[in-house]
């Protein structure tokens, strides 16, 4: 009998995640139309500094190598630098995503002084009109200013993080050139219909033809461009893109939200994927190791409706979050299945039948009279 493959072993789950996403706050000064966490207003129940440090202590005990901090806008938290320093001092690497608003020249210098720190600045268009249509007025200038500050502080290779949309897919080469001009790394990820993205996905997600374009582009770029392993659904087109080619939810990754709830997938803040809370008696480790949800996700999955498709081994049926929030069965094709199986399934989803995202912290929409 041969040893199981690495991927098969990882699918069975690890004693602790390899890395995890931790949204530090629901507060955000922006209101991006595709925000995964429907952020805007701070939740009054968010973890205190003491509680957040206790989580970091626990992650250290579990030997989690690094955390991806996000939000909301994580730099809004008053204890942001305190928490980042605490994590780094305890041997946990930090990568954080920011819109750049609070990344002043002074903040850039402070961040440069820290080890084990990676910064991702979000930018969803190579020009102001493309970016600001998604991220809001002024957000392009804000992001570029933050990049300039990091460059001036000689932070080193920060990351420019792009969510690929129908509107910016033709700008991939320009994004790469921009990253190169800063000595930065380009990171491109997949648009998910999560959070407010559920409302805008139909308009923003790349067309089938564009999916192929993304695949060819990523294949050509190889290791030069980071993807967070987010495009494995495209592997059905042929040669595999770099990455593990599996859904890591509850197996090697998970999400902690600002109030300490633990979800299986960084892209599914919804009760169905909530496994527990870091505030539970067993803490984070108890949730990771014992929750019924997580142990269930580590069982072998069924290919379901994809079983008869010759590409299932390559694409693994795609992304759980993308299926869930578009109302598709989890054991069927991804809504962006490159062979169009998802599109035909989508046609069968009744209007309003898809699950609504969980906790919504969007700011109330106000009508302004001029």
């Amino acid at each position: 009998m041969s040893a199981p493959s690495l991927v098969d072993e990882l699918k069975g789950g690890l004693d602790a995640p390899i890395c995890l996403t931790w949204e530090l706050t629901y507060a955000c000064n922006l209101a991006c139309v595709h925000c995964l966490s429907s952020s805007g207003r701070r939740d009054p129940n968010e973890l205190s500094t003491t509680e957040a440090k206790a989580v970091i202590d626990e992650l250290r005990t579990l030997q989690v190598f690094y955390v991806n901090l996000g939000g909301g806008e994580p730099m809004i938290r008053r204890d942001f630098f305190e928490l980042v320093s605490y994590a780094v001092d305890h041997g946990i690497g930090v990568k954080f995503s920011t819109n750049g608003t609070y990344l002043t020249a002074d903040a850039a210098r402070r961040l440069t002084a820290l080890d084990y720190l990676d910064i991702q600045i979000s930018l969803d268009g190579i020009d102001q009109p493309t970016n600001d249509a998604v991220r809001g007025a002024g957000s392009y200038d804000t992001a570029r200013r933050a990049m300039d500050h990091l460059a001036e502080a000689e932070f080193g290779p920060f990351k420019i993080s792009v969510v690929v949309t129908r509107q910016n897919v033709d700008q991939l080469d320009s994004f790469k050139a921009l990253a190169d001009s800063y000595g930065a790394q380009l990171r491109v990820t997949r648009l998910r219909p999560s959070g407010r993205g559920a409302n805008t996905w139909a308009e923003l997600h790349p067309t089938n033809e564009q999916q192929r374009q993304i695949y060819q582009w990523l294949l050509a770029k190889g290791d030069d461009v980071l993807t967070g392993d987010s495009f494995f659904h495209l592997n059905a087109l042929g040669e595999s893109l770099p990455g593990l080619n599996m859904c890591g939810a509850g197996r090697v990754v998970c999400l902690i939200d600002p109030v300490g709830d633990v979800y299986a997938c960084p892209f599914v803040i919804h009760d169905e994927f909530k496994a527990g809370s870091v505030r539970d008696p067993g803490g984070f480790a108890g949730v990771w190791r014992e929750s019924a949800l997580f142990t269930g996700l580590r069982e072998p999955e069924s290919a379901g409706a994809c079983a008869s498709c010759g590409s299932y081994d390559a694409c693994q049926g795609g992304c759980m979050a993308a299926k869930f929030f578009t109302g598709l069965p989890l054991d069927g094709p991804d809504p962006e299945c490159v062979y169009g199986h998802g599109e035909s399934s989508l046609a069968g989803v009744a209007a309003g039948a898809a699950p609504r995202p969980g906790a919504d912290h969007s700011r109330p929409v106000t009508f302004r009279r001029r």
Binding site: F65, R187, S230
Partner: protein, 126 residues
Amino acid sequence: MRGDRPGRAAGARPGESADASPEESAGASHSQFATSALLNRHLELDDRVALRPESFGALAYHYGNRRLIFLRHPDVLTVVRSLGGHETVADTLRACDIAPARWPSFLAAIESLVRSEVLRECALAG
């Protein structure tokens, strides 16, 4: 199949968000010459690398280059931890009771770990 050979180390860029995003290091191809040269080197674990034992072997994370590496067998972990304490790679393999038939796969793993900077020339060597 990825990473299904014992002793094979897979390198990875640390997945920046959801996923671990590893890319496997290219399969090792080493000539006889390279093999004997490797056997005589005095290597050690880079002190910026953290090791986390797992049922399949171990996870290694390099805080300097941010690479996540899979050690594909518990014996590879034992060897990696022992390298610094022996004069040569060959001495280490013998001390860890690695059967000669398994040496090629261990050398391939060690070579790959040198490339990903998990292992480095021992500072005290010479």
